[in-house]
Amino acid sequence: MTVSPDTQRARAWTWAITAAGLVVWAALPWFLSRGTIDILVFAGLYTIAGLGVSFLLGQCGIVSLAQSGFYGIGAYAAAYGTTALGLPIPVGIIAGMVVSGAIAAAVGIPVLRLSGHFLALATLALAIIAHVLFLELEWLTGGTLGIGGIPRIALFGFTFSTPFRFYYLVWPCAFALILFYTLLLNSRTGIALRAMRDAPAAAAVAGIPITSLKVRIFVLSAAVGSLAGSLFAHYVSFISVDSFAIDRAISFLLIAVLGGVRSIPGTIAGALFVTAAPNYLSRLGDIHPILFAVALIVAVIFLPGGFGGFVSSTWRRLTAGPRPSATGGP
C-alpha cells in the first residue's frame, strides 16, 4: 500500500494535534476553578455515554433514546452493590455492565427489527419504562429518596474524591473508549457495519448477519452507558431517580448529533456543549434556557454533520489544499 505525501502530512498533523490536545488536557485542571473542573468531569461522563449513542446512530442508523435507562442501571448497580451488598467497586461496575448488556440483548432482538421513527419511539418507551421502574422498585433504588453514601473509587490508595482527581479518572476512560470505537470502526466489523448501513440488501447477500450485528452494537452501547452511570454514581456519591429521566436520554442523543454521528472524537465537542453551554449561558440571567434551545436549533440547522463533521470537512479542505483544482477533479 502506498501512502501519498498528502496523506502522510495529514497523518503527521493529526498526531501533532492529538499530542498537543493531550498536553492541554493534562494541564487544564491546574488553571481552572473547582466548578469548571466539575463541568469538565460531567463532560467526560457524558462523552462516554454519548459515544455509545453516537456509534449506534452513525454506524447502524439506530436512534437510541434508551441510554438514560442503561446509565441508570449502571448507577444503581454501583450504588446498590457497594452500599447494600458490600461488594467491591469493580464488581458493582461490571455487574451493571453485564445486566445492561443482557437487558439490551433481550430487548434488542425484538425491538431492533423496527426502523426509523418507530425505533426511536420504541427506545423512548424503554427509557420511560426504565424511569418508572427506578421510581417504583424502592427496595433497589430508594425511589425518590435515592441512595446516598456511595463510596469513592480508590486505586492503589489514591482516592478520586475531588473533581480535580476524578478528572484524571473519567477522561482516560473516555479516551480509551474513543480509541476502542475507532479501532472497531476500522476493523472487519466496522466495514461490515458500513456495508450494512449504506447498502443493507447487498450486505445481507454478502453474508453479514444484520440483526445479530445490530444487537451486538446495541449491547456494547448499553454496557458503555452503564459504565458512565457507575462512574457518575461513584463521583457524586448520591443518586436519585431525577438523574435518569427522559431529559437525560435526550441530552445523550443531542451529544451524539451535535458532535456528529460519523465522527467519534466529535462526541467530546457535543458533550462539552451540552454540559458547558447551559452553565455559561446562565450568567446571562433567567433567559439562559431559551438561549440554549436557540443554540441547539442553530447548530442542527447550520451544522448537519455536527461539530465533528464541520471540523473534518474543514480539515479536508485545508490538508487537501489545491489538489482537486490541479488535477481537474472528477
Binding site: 425491538v111 421513527h117 419511539l121 434551545a293
Partner: protein, 295 residues
C-alpha cells in the same frame, strides 16, 4: 371491583384518551402533510393554553375569545416553526433526524419561555360548563370532558372532509406524497408544507385550550403530552386523523385499566409495553392499511 369504579376508570381513561388523541391528531396532520415528526406538538398545546389563560383569566376577557385566540396562537406558531426552523433545515438537506431534533429544540425554547414568564407554578383554565358534572352509571364525568370528546370528533370529521373534498386539502396531500409530481402540476410544495405546519399548529392550540381545564398548565407539560400523542398517532398508523384519536382512546383506556388492576405507578409501563408490542406486531398501526400513504 365494583361496577362504579370500573365505569369511573373507563370514563377517566376515555377523557385522557381524547387528550392524547388530540395531540396525536396534530402529529398525524404534520406527518401526513410534511413527513416530519413534530416534537413540538405538546408545546403548541402549551402555547394555546397559556394564551387562553392570559386572555380569559389574567385580562378577564370573555372565555370564548380566550379559546379562539389560543387556537390562533397555535396556528401562528406552527407557521413560524416552518419559516424559522423547518424551511432552513430542508434547504440544507436535513435528514429525518435533524427535523426531529430541530423541533425538539423548538419544544425546549417554548418550555423555557413559559418558565421565564410564568414560573414553575401551575395554572388551571376554567372549562366549558365550569366544574359541572354529569352522572354516568353513578360515576361522575365533567361536562367539559364531554365537550372535549364532541369537539375532537368534530375536528376529525372536518379534517376528513378537508382532505377529501377541498382543492387545497388535496393539494397538501399531493405535495407530501409526490412532491415532484405536485410541482409539475403547479402546486407550490413549499407553501403546502407551511400550511400543513400551520394546520398542525391550529390543532395543537385547540388541544391546549381543551386540555387545560383538565390538567394543570405548567411549563414542563409539553414533552410528556408529545410522547403520549406520538404513541396515539403511531397506534393509529401515523397519518390518519381518525386513527390518532382512536389510538389515543386505546392508550387512555389501557392506562386506566392498568391503574385499577395493577397500580397507578405502573400505568406508563403498561402503556409503553403495549406500544412497543403493537409496533412490532402491527407496524402499520391498528388498522393495517399498508402502503396507503394518504390515509
Amino acid at each position: 371491583m365494583t361496577l362504579t369504579l370500573l365505569v369511573q376508570s373507563v370514563l377517566a381513561g376515555l377523557t385522557n384518551g381524547f387528550v392524547y388523541g388530540l395531540i396525536g391528531l396534530g402529529i398525524a396532520v404534520v406527518f401526513r402533510g410534511a413527513r416530519i415528526i413534530n416534537a413540538m406538538q405538546g408545546d403548541l398545546a402549551l402555547i394555546g393554553s397559556v394564551v387562553a389563560y392570559l386572555i380569559a383569566v389574567s385580562l378577564g376577557l370573555p372565555m370564548i375569545l380566550g379559546f379562539l385566540l389560543g387556537v390562533v396562537a397555535g396556528g401562528v406558531t406552527g407557521f413560524l416553526v416552518d419559516r424559522l426552523m423547518i424551511r432552513p433545515t430542508a434547504k440544507r438537506r436535513g435528514t429525518e433526524d435533524s427535523f426531529l431534533l430541530v423541533t425538539l429544540g423548538g419544544a425546549f425554547a417554548v418550555s423555557a419561555t413559559v418558565l421565564l414568564y410564568f414560573g414553575r407554578d401551575s395554572y388551571v383554565l376554567p372549562g366549558i360548563g365550569g366544574n359541572a358534572m354529569v352522572d354516568v352509571f353513578d360515576a361522575a364525568m365533567r361536562v367539559h370532558a364531554i365537550w372535549l370528546i364532541v369537539i375532537s370528533t368534530g375536528v376529525v370529521l372536518a379534517l376528513r372532509w378537508f382532505y377529501a373534498k377541498t382543492a387545497i386539502g388535496q393539494a397538501m396531500l399531493a405535495a407530501s406524497i409526490d412532491p415532484e409530481g405536485a410541482l409539475t402540476l403547479g402546486i407550490n410544495v413549499g407553501w403546502m408544507r407551511t400550511m400543513t405546519l400551520a394546520l398542525g399548529g391550529l390543532v395543537g392550540g385547540l388541544a391546549g385550550v381543551l386540555v387545560a381545564p383538565l390538567i394543570n398548565i405548567q411549563y414542563e407539560m409539553g414533552l410528556l403530552l408529545t410522547l403520549k400523542g406520538f404513541a396515539a398517532a403511531i397506534l393509529g398508523g401515523l397519518t390518519s386523523p381518525f386513527g390518532a384519536i382512536f389510538g389515543g382512546v386505546i392508550l387512555g383506556l389501557v392506562e386506566a385499566l392498568a391503574v385499577v388492576t395493577i397500580s397507578s405507578g405502573y400505568k406508563d409501563v403498561v402503556a409503553m409495553t403495549l406500544l412497543i408490542a403493537i409496533m412490532i406486531a402491527m407496524p402499520q398501526g391498528l388498522f393495517g392499511r399498508r402502503g396507503r400513504l394518504g390515509g
